[in-house]
């Protein structure tokens, strides 16, 4: 029995190690992830909590609270900006140093805000009796309200990248594409059909999850449904196009898996699904703006949490359409049936 098992192990190992593209990718991908995370999150003093403050002075505040390690501080121009960042979970606490007595705000639904408040009060200066705790005047956005757009986006990303990517590689490998090549179907027609089919699947699945979650947790939906539908349509189109681009000429499932992961991992962490990039380096923020999921999450979140209109989300929608056009153009040009 062991002989047979070893023979099968040998067969699989040979298959894996002789697929050079997949082998190289299995080595290169983890290195890229390590390098990427090292670059993005490598600072050993990485802040755990984010605080925004308003101050009339150009100098950095001297209060002991501002010397606390592992907190990052971001100056804002006015109270509204500070409250907006707090409300949208971009920071955990906002403190106004420009008038006495000092006022600070936390988001009631944020666990991090609770902890930063404790740190502020424990820092001793100013004494806690000179601090005024305030709550946000506008309707508070709960963490779950903030998170839901990201979760829907992430689900759509996996469905688009892996659902389309893997099926095309499988079709290419087992000859389905070769059979279609023998018909009058063009690469453009084939790719369009895959996109249309996946958009339909994505929109249907997202609608089920959206309304199911709405019933279960009653998250906030401030904007219009047509605007949200446009965000989903543009986001879905862009993510599917990216999936097609990844596998446009790939025949190995393992290589395709690596390429799709290369696209999905940065989006999972840098597109603001789980946490805001407030306080991260400008380079990282600029990179995140190139990612389709960032535009989807920002636009859907704006519609859902702030009631943003078509016009307000149009820059994100335009970016998604432009990226889709680029991805589709390249993938149609390099598409291989076999």
């Amino acid at each position: 029995m062991m002989k047979r098992i070893f023979a099968l192990i040998r067969a699989r190992n040979l298959e894996f190690f002789r697929d050079r593209s997949a082998l190289a990718w299995n080595i290169i991908f983890p290195l890229l992830v390590i390098l990427g995370f090292g670059f993005g999150f490598g600072n050993s003093k990485q802040a755990q909590f984010k605080v925004s403050y308003l101050s009339l002075s150009q100098d950095f505040p001297t209060h002991p609270f501002f010397k606390t390690e592992y907190l990052s501080f971001h100056k804002v121009e006015d109270v509204n900006e500070g409250l907006d960042k707090l409300n949208h979970h971009k920071v955990d606490l906002f403190i106004n140093l420009s008038e006495a007595p000092l006022k600070y705000w936390i988001n009631q639904s944020s666990p991090k805000g609770y902890i930063v408040e404790k740190i502020l009060l424990a820092s001793g200066a100013p004494p806690s009796n000179e601090l005024i705790r305030s709550s946000i005047d506008t309707k508070e956005i709960r963490y779950v309200d903030w998170l839901i757009a990201g979760m829907l986006g992430m689900n759509m990303m996996f469905s688009s990248l892996f659902g389309v990517g893997y099926s095309i590689v499988r079709y290419r490998k087992n000859g389905v594409l070769k059979r279609l090549k023998a018909t009058p179907i063009t690469a453009f027609e084939f790719l369009s059909s895959q996109i249309a089919s996946r958009i339909f699947i994505n929109l249907s699945m997202s609608a089920i999850i959206f309304f199911g979650a709405k019933v279960l947790i009653n998250f906030s939906m401030m904007g219009s449904y047509p605007a949200l539908l446009l965000c989903f349509f543009a986001g879905s189109l862009c993510l599917i196009s990216l999936g097609l681009l990844c596998v446009t000429a790939v025949k190995s499932e393992e290589l395709a898996g690596g390429l799709l992961q290369l696209c999905s991992w940065p989006m999972m962490f840098l597109s603001g699904v789980w946490f805001s990039l407030e306080g991260f380096s400008q380079g990282l923020k600029s990179f995140a703006k190139l990612l389709p999921l960032t535009h989807f999450v920002d636009s859907a979140r704006a519609v859902m949490n702030e009631g943003a209109s078509f016009t307000q989300v149009s820059p994100h929608i335009a970016s998604l359409f432009i990226l889709s056009f680029i991805f589709l153009g390249i993938s149609s040009y390099f598409f291989k049936w076999e």
Partner: protein, 241 residues
Amino acid sequence: MIILEAQNLHKTYPNGTRALQGLHLKIEQGICFGLLGPNGAGKTTCIEICEGIQKADQGTVLFLGKPLDRDFKYRSGIQFQETALQDFLQVKDIIEIFSKFYTKSFPIEELKSFCQLDDIWLKDHKKLSGGQRQRVLLALSLVNDPDIIFLDEPTTGLDPSARRNFWELVKLIKSRGKTVILTTHYMEEAQILCDQIAIVDAGKIISEGSPKDLLLQYFPNDSSKNLEDLFIKLTGKELRE
């Protein structure tokens, strides 16, 4: 009238294999043309270039005197040696979907009875026997009511009964005035179905004509010889070599 003509086809694969080395072919309309040859002789490469699936390094293929274009795809039907279809589709779905790819189509009810698909019409294609599967693939190649049909080793792996059944279908296709181009390992199949054959070896046609004329030419005094003997004489190889 010549329906398909291959002129001076050359093809070398990236690994250095020279599959075709100046192959010429002329196929008359309305006949069944057999392309025979040992494994690795270049039959599939030749047929795939004639189908427009692969590109030749050199040489041209003409359909009714014109280089292959999009119109050729509407007027040709292809049954590959191995074909995969999308999962979870019934025979009915496959035929209906493929018929939508073309402007002209064989009436589905007629195609269904022509290829004997009635019993398996609602079956998942993954659950078909070898013979049933080949009948579905033949139906796919006929779905656009083509003028020319390529059958690449269509009966390989079928049991004798399924093979004979398939031959009857090919005869029916011929009787409708269609041109059939067939590659096969089975000399009996070629002898029964083909009006003309070409024997390919090392990427070239080494002999061409009707089975009867070729047997007369190479075995003028021995009527007991058949195509298999001719094949071995010309290629120096056993059939499955």
